[in-house]
């Protein structure tokens, strides 16, 4: 964060120090930075903003297998919200996103605090917590699909451990399938949140803590009253990243449950893929994509706004 606080004092307008008669080369030099940045700028304009607009246009047309540019009003959105599968996807996103974000924040914070107690072998432990982040969600999904296998996975382990009647079949239970996605997603992402919190903890000024100790405050009080509140910016960035992962989550669901059993673990991302690319309902797919964008905006913008309005410390 402090990197951005540093501002370049002078913004050189162009190739400075060439006051002598301007030559063609100098003029090109003066334009060079802009020319160099132009392709990226054009890319962002076309492939981000232009495409969002394009998707928005598609969502207002009756397109099915091929784009058909006729105005259909909000018919696709009406169809979307009349679709039970879409509501189920939204409900799953809320269940999955809510649990995933909360558990990740809690686990990440707890692990970071534990690791911050001058632990021997901290480096090794940290690497172990973080390696899942290097894996593809498809690999994670494949691994957990096997671990959660209703016959041979954890259930068998429980049986062998003496719990003869134990049942653990979330993968094939329509009510619970979405929570298998939570289990796997937390396994993959919580180490990352830990790393963020740990970096935050290391950034706290020791003298404040020492002063509180001298005043006789106990460690739990210090954590509750001083340390955790000062981690606010870390909560902020973790929340944004986790929400983002949750809304985008597609690969993990595809690999773990493929939206099943039935459509019971569908999320908006799998819904969008299925309608736009396998069921040839381009208009409806575009409408669902626009809704996903709006969900991200609706969650992140107010949060960002309230956070950026707060006076910055340090």
């Amino acid at each position: 964060m402090d990197l951005t606080a540093q501002r370049m004092t002078a913004a050189p307008e162009s190739g400075a120090g060439t006051e002598a008669k301007p030559r063609l080369g100098d003029r090109i030099d003066a334009w060079l930075p802009k020319i160099v940045l132009a392709p990226t700028f054009v890319c962002a304009l076309v492939f981000i903003y232009g495409y969002i607009l394009w998707t928005a246009v598609l969502s207002l047309t009756p397109s099915r297998m091929l784009p058909k540019y006729e105005f259909a009003g909000l018919a696709q959105f009406e169809a979307l919200f009349a679709n039970e599968r879409w509501w189920l996807a939204l409900k799953n996103l809320a269940l999955f996103g809510g649990t995933f974000v909360l558990v990740c924040l809690a686990v990440g914070l707890l692990l970071a605090i534990l690791l911050d107690q001058k632990i021997r072998g901290e480096g090794l432990i940290r690497s172990i917590y973080l390696y899942p982040m290097a894996l593809s969600f498809i690999v994670t999904g494949t691994a957990w699909k096997w671990i959660l296998n209703p016959e041979l996975g954890i259930e068998r382990l429980l049986h062998d451990g003496g719990f003869e009647n134990a049942r653990f079949d979330w993968l094939i239970d329509p009510e619970m399938a979405i929570y298998t996605v939570v289990v796997a997603a937390v396994w993959q992402s919580s180490g990352f949140v830990m790393a963020l919190f740990l970096a935050g903890l290391r950034g706290i000024d020791d003298s404040i803590i020492k002063a509180a100790q001298v005043d006789g405050a106990s460690m739990p009080t210090i954590y509750r009253r001083i340390i955790i509140p000062s981690l606010r910016p870390v909560f902020f960035s973790s929340f944004m990243i986790l929400t983002h992962i949750a809304v985008k989550s597609f690969d993990l669901v595809m690999a773990l449950t493929n939206g099943g059993p039935g459509f019971s673990s569908d999320v908006p991302a799998t819904f969008m893929y299925s309608f736009a690319f396998t069921r040839n309902q381009i208009g409806l797919g575009a409408a669902s994509a626009m809704m996903m964008l709006m969900i991200v905006v609706a969650v992140i913008v107010p949060f960002m706004y309230s956070e950026l309005r707060r006076p910055r410390h340090g």
Binding site: M1, L3, T4, Q6, M8, A10, A11, P12, E13, G15, G17, D29, L32, V36, L37, P39, F41, A44, F47, I48, Y49, G50, Y51, W54, L58, L114, Q117, I128, Y129, L130, Y131, P132, M133, A134, L135, S136, I138, V139, T142, A143, W146, I147, L152, G153, R156, L157, W187, A195, L196, S237, K248, F250, N258, P268, A269, A276, F277, A289, M290, L293
Partner: protein, 292 residues
Amino acid sequence: MAEMTSTRNTGQLVGRTIVYGLLVLVCFYYLMPLFVMVTTSLKSLDEIRAGNLLSLPQDPNLDAWGKAWSSACTGVQCEGLAGFFWNSVSFVVPAVLMSTLIGAVNGYVLTMWRFRGSDLLFGLLMIGCFIPFQVVLLPMARTLGAMGIANSTTGLVFVHVVYGLAFTTLFFRNYYVTIPDELVKAAKIDGAGFWLIFRRIILPLSAPIIVVSIIWQFTQVWNDFLFGVVFSSGDRQPITVALNNLVNTSTGVKEYNVDMAAAIIAALPTLFVYVVAGKYFVRGLTAGAVKG
């Protein structure tokens, strides 16, 4: 007094034991899936059916690995993951190098050659980190088709470069902001031009951030599934898509050992990078997290 310190020490000892105990327990939790993957991949199918998840392989063998690499079915064809592995390599390498290079130059302009509107430009680009990619899939599919690079290596390189630029630019910009201004200013007064300063002053200072960017992009692009499954098909697909097909191919007996071997094969390149350069990987993660 002595008694007090001794109870305090006991208390501390108990506390530390609990802390270490918890930390080690959590280590087992994170390592368990990897352990299960590796042991399952070394077992025979009979042994898998008879034993349980955590049992060690009685007669470890690499049969499942061989099958996953060269003869497992990924849909209609049964040629293993080998071809798809090289597919991934063929688009990941150019995509990573190009996005890193362009990101470096962008970061250089955005810090050392700022002009009116360059901050706004950076802000516009950063929003690219936030959008759910579903919102660009349909137009991109049409564009790639129109350009004639749908279902090709070129198409995937293009997509990954375009949507990776926001992150690489962010990395380099945030890194270059910390380079003292005077360095570049002095060079400008001496009459050094744009590219000369970049090559002679900036690039030699950039090694750590180049590593961060390459590792980050490599992990992202290698692990991508969404672009792969939408923009490629058949034998042009990346390894993540092939792995998913392999696991979900429903013909014949479910071979869990082959599934696990295949998953490890797909994970090996990024795991290797993590083991070798974990420090930089973490730095990339946190740099990506702290949006400029």
